[in-house]
């Protein structure tokens, strides 16, 4: 049995910018992945949704500056629910100096403004080389 890579995408906190995350969602879909776009949810709900949907990847978007507080909370919530092995990635207005701390907190990769969609698709595909797994 093979299946498509499953991605749950959410926006952190009250961030209302959707352009970037919708572009990413479309690109992943066009690349043959399953994308579940849930909009704004709090970190614990995002983790729950990710488990319910059996997501391989949790994609977070934040352009508001709330990422240092909320992105690690998603990772922690996943871990505490036994989903720590899922890949969490983040995009949006993330100042470069924040990236090392986010990675320490368990975010697999951060994609800032100007990242080609193609690079994001390549990254996600590379996480699951036996896709469809």
């Amino acid at each position: 049995m093979t299946r498509k890579i499953r991605v749950v995408m959410a926006r952190l906190g009250l961030d209302s910018h959707w352009r970037g995350s919708i572009m990413v969602a479309r690109a992943l879909r066009d690349a043959g992945m399953e994308v579940i776009y849930v909009g704004n949810q709090d970190p614990e709900t995002i983790a729950e949704t990710a488990l319910q949907e059996d997501a391989d990847v949790v994609g977070l978007s934040s352009l508001s500056g709330n990422h240092m507080e909320l992105a690690p909370r998603v990772v922690n919530a996943l871990r505490s629910k036994g989903g720590g092995h899922r890949t969490v990635i983040l995009g949006g207005t993330v100042p470069p100096p924040d990236v090392p701390r986010l990675k320490e907190a368990g975010i697999a990769e951060v994609f800032g403004p100007g990242t080609p969609l193609e690079r994001i698709v390549r990254y996600v595909s590379a996480c699951f080389p036996q896709n469809p797994r």
Binding site: G13, D15, S16, I22, R26, V35, G65, N66, P113, G114
Partner: protein, 563 residues
Amino acid sequence: MSEKSRSGEDGHNPREIIRQAFEEWRRALEREDLWSEDSTRSGVPVKPLYTPLDTASLDYLRDLGFPGSEPYVRGAYSSMYRGRSWTVRQLAGFGPPEETNRRYKLLLKEGATGINGVFDYPTLRGYDSTDPVARADVGRGGVAVDTLEDMRILFDGIPIHEVSTSLVTCNPVSNVTLQSMYFANALERGIPLEKLRGTSQNDFLMETAITTAPESLPPAHSFRLCCDAIEFCARRAPRWNPVSFTGYNYREAGCNAVQEVAFVVANAVACSEELVRRGLEVDRFAPRLSFFLSAHNDFFEEIAKYRAARRIWHRVMKERFAARDPGSLRFRFHVQTAGAALTAQQPLNNIARAAYHAMAAVLGGAQSLHVDAYDEALCTPTEQSALTALRTNQILLLETGVTRTADPLGGSYYVETLTNRLEEEILELLEEIENQGGMVRAVETGWIHRTINETAYAYQQAVESGEIPVVGLNCHRMEEEELPMDLFQVPETLSVQEKRLRKVLRERDEAQVQKALSAVEHAATSGENLMDVLMEGVTRGITIGEVSRAIKRALGTWNAPLL
């Protein structure tokens, strides 16, 4: 004059002579493979050269006229910048109100001539700072306002009877509350509403399409709240612009120039119809409808866009609404330079970009201008980047001489042709929106979301393929980049707001508050004008979160069909 008497000796008329000469010139170019078609960003074809042949059908008085007179293509006001320079209106807002108050004062001291206030995410989405879902966003992206007390502090010591204030309230739900707080504060300070000058954003697309939140009002209700504020101002605050149709924001979400103008006009038409239905005469409210547009990279297309918008608005108001007041016929607009055109890579390059954008705005006759800061793609502007942006605005105003003459590109074969072509495209799209059932319906069905999405995705792909060059991003990149500046740090806000809110809650009269809130809920259901109710309610210490919850209890919530 007959064609004959204008003819040259060989029997050809002057236009024919130009045509022949032009064809010859063009063939020479073609022989070297140098004649090719290109197009603007919104897809209007562009030739390598324009001549009198392209504008031959223009009838000067009918199609262009004079600034300040019909059809207003050449400018909204007769003397344009000689009579009154554009308002230097730089955005500002972050942290608790006392911090933003300081930034307003700095900008005014440094020569800004208007205030442009942005609110933080919780305020815009109608949550109190202390709400669990709001806490991580408090003070971010704008200033935190929970109650009237915050509004008092925000404008403390600012001469709001003289300075015009733009309140970037974004969507109608937050607008009814924030505008009421601003007005209530003015009244407390002894300033009658009739004297207040300013603008609130109040665009229902901001709630339902352009930005979205977990809980937005259903489109028809959001639209109604927008109209409530317009109606209230027509009655009580005649110098206040109660809506600014946010073409800028549509554009930033991914629209092109044609869609930007078509959507603002369609939105304004929908509002006008509703207000007429409510019994207001068009000339009572239309002079106070204002617009907010972007200035993006395609220099001449942007200029032509503003000119086309003026011609279209004049026609719509005159033919469709039989407006007669010149104020109703003139399209007045604020411009912000395109944030989405600015890059996180080599951020100082953004100073040059924003300066070009700003130049397009004023060559197109903007009434008011914000120039973006170079750290746009990275953070809220620092004091230094905000000042540089302010100075860019002032350099344009004072050093370049662009203010000397109105509509300096009027009569340019190219710009006039582009203006005509954009007008055609915009009118066509307006018709399509009518076919979709009008603006409110087009939002409800998701047609608007799909349309913006498609354009945004195509744009993204064109940048990635290199078809649209972006310096520092897809060409002239630098692999190892060091950030050449400090980034803004949001000052501590939550604890400040928490403390102040607690004090307000402690001191207010709970019975009055409950009365005010049920009045809000009741008005929301009954259709009574919400502004009337809130003007009183905010003085009782009700919070923006309480108001939003009351309204949503009454009217329900909606999820935008984004994908």
